[in-house]
Symmetry: C2
Subunit: 505 residues, 2 copies
């Protein structure tokens, strides 16, 4: 083997991966359109389009010739350093390949078709508060996901196989342990808050906030934290998301409610946080692991950091509150900043995950995490899900949804075939607090910067330490490398106690 | 050969065509997004996506195995009747295949890439009134189009090869003859109008028409003539178009000008006319010639009919004018219907094709038709185009554009590689008038129906006689079959004389 051969083999492997990513980016474009723009009658044909592309992508990702080339490269010098750009690309692509060849083509296409149609059925079902109409396709989805897990194999339980799609190298048991540790400290904290005589006046946030002003203000805030609108968009959808349609095409979405200030505003900061990660990835490595996000948990850490650790901080509002008062004089003209700040940080058990406060949010995740494990194990029939959902809400949060639209039908994830995804939200909260504490220490006090409207130092720190690292490190390695220690619930708990202690006395 | 073999061969040929159409519909979705939604920084990667798809589509359309199957079918019983669904599908697919195999793959990809980038360069150039910045890519476009024509071959002149893409079976010489016949009668008519002492008060249309009200009114009118918004959308773009993204996904676009009522309103009727053709095609034949439009000229006949023969008729406004006055009380409250009707039918030489009146419009087309023939022959260097453009405007319309943005840079077509497209607009006007005269006779007086807000009989007539026929007949055959005679400029001239005579006395 001559010196130049490994390079040229590497290049051909990368070209293959980049072309596959190009097809996947087209699938993303169709998915974004489906959820923001597409007329309803187009759903059936869109499902055909997406199914066809998904099949093509799967064939490329499971091409045996490509697999052989990856295996050969993995033995060569370019793979020697697992954290180098080439080493990470080879290692991660090989791992993905080996996982994917286990899935039969027919199952992949059926999953894609079911996910596409499922989302439309779900939209109707949620609108009409009609779980029964959603049941058949949801049942089919979980049946297919069980087939998927069985085809993939798993170390301890079926759920491991699906979790690995979103949080590579994580185990269900390990996530369960961390979340239990968090819960054991959170529940008493929430209990002390519930017993406190102090209560924020949350009615402030339910006044009239004209939608067009909300949109302009949200755009201003997203741009201020660094979201690049020349390489991105903001649109309206039923269930907000962030989608990358290419290396310089990141689309975030939100939904507006004239009578709920926080829903769109913090939603936009959240999605813009995802967007900053996408926009911070290395464009020259687009389509390769070194230009891709580490895991959904790490992705979520970016969105939750901008939404909560930045967007709900007092310093952030020292800068933005005068602007908010100017834009919403009727609602906020006579409201003191401290009252507003308390209102946006109020802690109270609630029904809707995406509207939950920082403290109780993780309990919403625990519920879903436990339910989807039971569904995957087959212990819980899908038909019993609404009852089980309501029972868990009673148990963890002490409240019961009055209907399924505000209960089991609230999230799109299962409808879209995303099982094993929810725990990444809680992991994201933990990563976010741990990264933020480190950035705060290294950058010498972020609060003072935020109060002056300076968000660039934090964004650059995240770009350098996280975004530009791509998948050169696993989530666990990255946390260790950036913060000097393993993942721990301590930083999040310290943050919550530091913030909520003074507010609730 | 047993009895059942031809059917199964036919089915496999259709499956191949339908899958190719599916990829083409995805390319359409990306094209629509590019022109309505995409952030500017995404242009380069979008060009890569489109180029990749175009290459894939071209490979499928020129697959030799498929060509052999088509050739075999063309000899069989299913192709015996050329106007049957199967006969038309086989005949037209074979014709398209034989044309396409003449184009080298590299040229096809280069054309797609150049067209995608060209549109972005053009947008900037038009905005900055900077033809020089557009010149290099436009020059490249025409060089590639000459290569394309030479590769395709042609009966009489290079332009024939390109015209055939849009108006199959037409010849440049024959189009030139019909347009000359039209011009020889039109010029004196426009001259008599210019000499008339009567003038409409067109300032009525330049009052303030709030954009959001224009949009609502435009949507109402589009829905009233039958555009199905559950299977379509209306969006804003720089250069309005209508795109089919699937059998039940038709997207029309417009641009709004607060100070020009007609621009968006008649633009929407125009694009909705295209949309009605798309929505009237046979969904069960989607992706096959029997479910596709005959030609661009016939497509344009549908848009021009709804825009002009319906939308600018007095009867249409008998129904809609009270609504218009209600929606625009400031602009139209004190304006009599006759003055409004005269204003929207004013004839005056102008600079912008898409804003031109029914009578002078065809002169705008003649100019482009002549210029692109000269560019294709190589008689006119692309660098001399702005001068030649302005000279033609002086010659045909007696006016000269003050700058290139209002002159040679006004249309997107050449930037997008569409050469040979313009004459279909004039053919569309001729087909429209001829079809409309026939529908009027058969349906017993359309004016009275329009005045009552009844547009369904005309739409159903068009659907039956034109839309559902797909490509079972050529444009010339369809005109003959529907109207009982060959294409003639008489119906259009009769219509213009009947309308403009009384207005201009």
């Amino acid at each position: 083997m001559t010196q130049s051969e490994p390079e040229s083999l590497y290049e051909s492997v990368c070209r293959h991966a980049r072309e596959t990513a190009l097809l996947a980016s087209i699938e993303s474009a169709l998915g974004w359109d489906e959820r923001t723009m597409m007329p309803p009658a187009a759903a059936d044909y869109r499902a055909e389009q997406v199914t066809y592309l998904a099949g093509m992508i799967h064939r490329r990702r499971t091409d045996p010739q490509w697999g052989e080339r990856l295996a050969a490269l993995a033995e060569g010098p370019l793979a020697a350093d697992p954290h180098s750009e080439t080493g990470a690309n080879i290692r991660r692509l090989k791992r993905q390949y080996e996982k994917r060849v286990k899935l039969p083509q027919g199952l992949v296409e059926e999953l894609a078709r079911t996910a596409s149609l499922g989302q439309h059925v779900w939209q109707e079902a949620r609108r009409n508060n009609d779980f029964a109409s959603f049941l058949p396709i949801l049942d089919k989805t979980f049946r297919l996901k069980r087939e998927e897990a069985d085809a993939l194999g798993y170390p301890e339980c079926r759920y491991d196989a699906l979790l690995d799609d979103f949080e590579p190298d994580e185990r269900t048991s390990s996530v369960a342990r961390v979340l239990a540790e968090l819960r054991d400290r959170l529940v008493p904290l929430v209990g002390r808050i519930g017993a406190s005589p102090r209560r924020p006046d949350v009615s402030i946030l339910l006044r009239r906030y004209p939608v067009d002003v909300q949109e302009a203000f949200g755009r201003q805030a997203a741009a201020a934290i660094g979201f690049d609108f020349t390489a991105g968009r903001l649109d309206v959808t039923a269930h907000p998301f962030c989608a990358g349609l290419g290396p310089r095409d990141c689309r975030i979405t939100t939904r507006f409610n004239e009578r709920a200030f926080g829903e769109a505003f913090f939603g936009i900061l959240h999605e813009a946080g995802h967007g900053l990660y996408d926009q911070g990835l290395r464009a020259d490595q687009y389509g390769l692991p070194a230009g891709d996000a580490v895991s959904l948990g790490i992705h979520e850490s970016q969105s939750r950091m901008w939404e909560n650790l930045v967007g709900r901080s007092r310093a952030f509002w020292q800068h933005f509150y005068p602007e908010a008062q100017k834009r919403f004089p009727e609602a906020l003209g006579g409201v003191a900043i401290d009252d507003f700040y308390f209102a946006i940080n109020g802690v109270r058990p609630s029904l809707i995950r995406v509207e939950a406060d920082e403290a109780t949010y993780n309990l919403h995740i625990l519920i879903r995490f436990e339910l989807e494990q039971a569904l995957m194990d087959g212990q819980l029939p899908v038909g019993d899900l609404p009852g089980a959902w309501n029972e868990k809400y009673r148990h963890y949060l002490g409240i019961v949804p009055p209907n399924d639209s505000q209960g089991v039908l609230q999230d799109i994830h299962w409808a879209g075939g995303l099982v094993g995804y929810f725990p990444t939200y809680a992991l994201g909260n933990l990563y976010a607090a741990q990264f933020f504490a480190r950035a705060d220490a290294e950058l010498g006090g972020l609060a003072a910067q935020f109060a002056r409207g300076e968000f660039e130092p934090l964004r650059q720190w995240l770009r350098r330490n996280i975004h530009e690292q791509g998948q050169c490190y696993s989530a666990a390695e990255l946390v260790e490398r950036v913060t000097g220690g393993p993942l721990s619930p301590e930083p999040l708990l310290a943050h919550l106690e530091a913030k909520l202690g003074p507010l609730y006395a």
